[in-house]
Amino acid sequence: MSEKLMFVQGNEACVQGALYAGVDFFAGYPITPSTEIAELLAARLPEKGGKFIQMEDEIASMCAIIGASLTGHKVMTATSGPGFSLKQEAIGYACMAEIPCVIVNVQRGGPSTGNPTHVSQGDINQARWGTHGDHGIIALTASNHQDVFRMTVDAFNLAETYRTPVVLLFDEVIGHMRERLVVPDPGVVPIVDRLRTSVPKDVDYHPYLPREDGRLPMSDFGGHHRYNVTGLFHDMWGFPSNNPSVVQDLLRHLVDKIDTNVDVITRYKEHCLDDAEYILVSYGSSARSAIHLAKNRRQKGERLGVLELQSIWPFPAEMVRAKCANAKAVIVVEMNMGQVLTQVKAAVDQPNRVFLANRIDGKLITPSDIKGLLRVIQGKGV
């Protein structure tokens, strides 16, 4: 089999990535601008013996994929802002019970029903703190379809590696735009499969006792090992406990398993960054405009570079600090009121040199939008 060349929407690139990663269960509810993901998987999953179900609401979709993950399947749901809000309680459940799953959020304008058919990147902080209580979370993003494919595969891999929900933060422009996608041959991109326990039948299995390498092997529902899964604080067998040391240790584990692996989880790209005096930090569709501007200015001899984030959470603060250390100014380019800006300011040595180039009117931020701000910072005026 040779690699497949396609001309598709970003939502289909996501579907191709999910299929490549081995998704075999999807539950969803129609919502713009993510619906194509559900439509495509409704057709594709049964072809390979997988299951698609359209649930009665967004909450049920999130719950159903958690149930299907526990029987040993690779699972996904897709939504947008309002649906992402509704899923938050169950996302917290997946964090607490450590159940691998992938949640796609094709972002649109919010709050509330907002601007359903237009682009936004306003759910960055919701991806981090949408569910209540302390927890770790992984969120990835992408600015082109090849990367949408790759980040979707990575999302499944990270979900299995860390037994955690992983959020894919795409946006309306990426989801609906069509461009080239090359689906590689099987085996080219590594796949992480479910780590299952080797504990034999009738021997005590501890679903929540990490191995030396920190990973927690799972046992499928329906297998030999009958254990408990709960959203309550729980002991190593999965049974509820409010013992203070059990509670404290579990919460630390849930946060640390993600945060101490920030270097492994971090994904980013550099565009003309080596000697850059001015750095644009961006992600998703905004990064396309940032990259376009940087390439354009480079031709005119201006030392402008782009640091493109592909993982937003856990926030790669140390990497951002190092990359931006020698910049005269850092401009965060995003389509919200400064959600990643806050993180970058907290990360760098000189936060007063960090600026925001944003657009929040439902239109894609353009290179000239960024250029205007850059000229002001450079003292050239608009």
Binding site: F25, P46, M55, A60, G67, L70, E89, F221, G222, H224
Partner: protein, 269 residues
């Protein structure tokens, strides 16, 4: 196997109050599972949140203690992804029909092969005695100090209308009848609903002056009658017990397997 072989004995005595009907429902359910001779490793019990939901921790099955109201949504994912499993979903009245009402009617509509048990004690016990959608008007609760004005659902009528293909009602008092209905519900291919009237002497009984647990069981005995019985004909105000629906209709997971066949054939051609 004995009943105790289906229990996680290390968690006993259980956390339910003295005289709580939920313990009797657990008792009746285990007898049903035992009499059917089911393999423990083939059963998934999914529950929500509340007093009722703690039932899943006590059984030596695969147990999934989920979110308030969402047990059937989780169970749908379990069942569709692995249809060979027997999926049993005990829920409280608030769990199943207030916060979980939407999942209840849609699981029934799909006719997915899950056994739903509504442990109806007409009150939110875990949070201290608030009225539920099954309390009915004129009842006392912490959130109804001047008596309830909310009408109640009839679980049987709701399940019937939503498309459940097996619907039965019994009580904690009629424990052998309950075991019998639960056995039939588990064997039934499709979405089964068994409502079991259960007593909460701690909150509902005390607030509504129904007496102790035994007195509340007497009320279950005296306020219900088997469908088709002379007692019910003579006293139509009694709550009917019995099997109200037991029909065959296409089951969701089996229908989905036909979709897989169609999709695979189309792809191959």
């Amino acid at each position: 196997m004995a009943i105790k072989d289906y229990l996680r004995e290390r968690f006993f005595p259980h956390m339910w109050c003295p005289g709580c009907g939920h313990g009797t429902v657990l008792n009746s359910l285990l007898r049903a599972v035992e009499e059917l001779g089911l393999n423990k490793s083939n059963i998934v019990m999914t529950s929500g949140i509340g007093c009722s939901a703690r039932i899943s921790g006590y059984v030596d099955f695969h147990s999934l203690h989920t979110l308030h109201g969402r047990a059937l949504a989780f169970a749908t994912g379990v069942k569709l992804s692995k249809p060979e499993l027997t999926v049993i979903v005990p829920m409280g009245d608030g769990d199943a029909l207030a916060i979980g009402g939407n999942h209840f009617i849609h699981a029934a509509r799909r006719n997915i092969d899950i056994t739903a048990i509504v442990m109806n004690n007409r009150i939110y016990g875990m949070t201290g005695g608030q009225f539920s959608p099954l309390s009915g008007p004129g009842k006392k609760a912490t959130t109804a100090p001047y008596l309830t004005i909310d009408n109640e659902f009839d679980v049987v009528e709701l399940a019937k209308a939503a498309g459940a293909t097996f619907v039965a009602r019994s009580t904690a008092y009629h424990c052998q009848e309950a075991t019998n209905y639960l056995k039939q519900a588990i064997l039934h291919k499709g979405f089964s609903v068994v409502e079991i009237l259960s007593q909460c002497p701690t909150h509902y009984g005390r607030k509504n002056r129904e007496g102790d647990a035994a007195a509340m069981l007497e009320i279950q005995r005296d306020s219900t009658a088997r469908i088709g019985s002379k007692a019910l004909d003579d006293n139509p105000h009694l709550i009917p017990r019995g099997i109200f629906v037991d029909i065959e209709k296409p089951e969701y997971c089996e229908e989905y397997n036909k979709i897989i066949d169609r999709a695979m054939k189309r792809k191959a051609s």
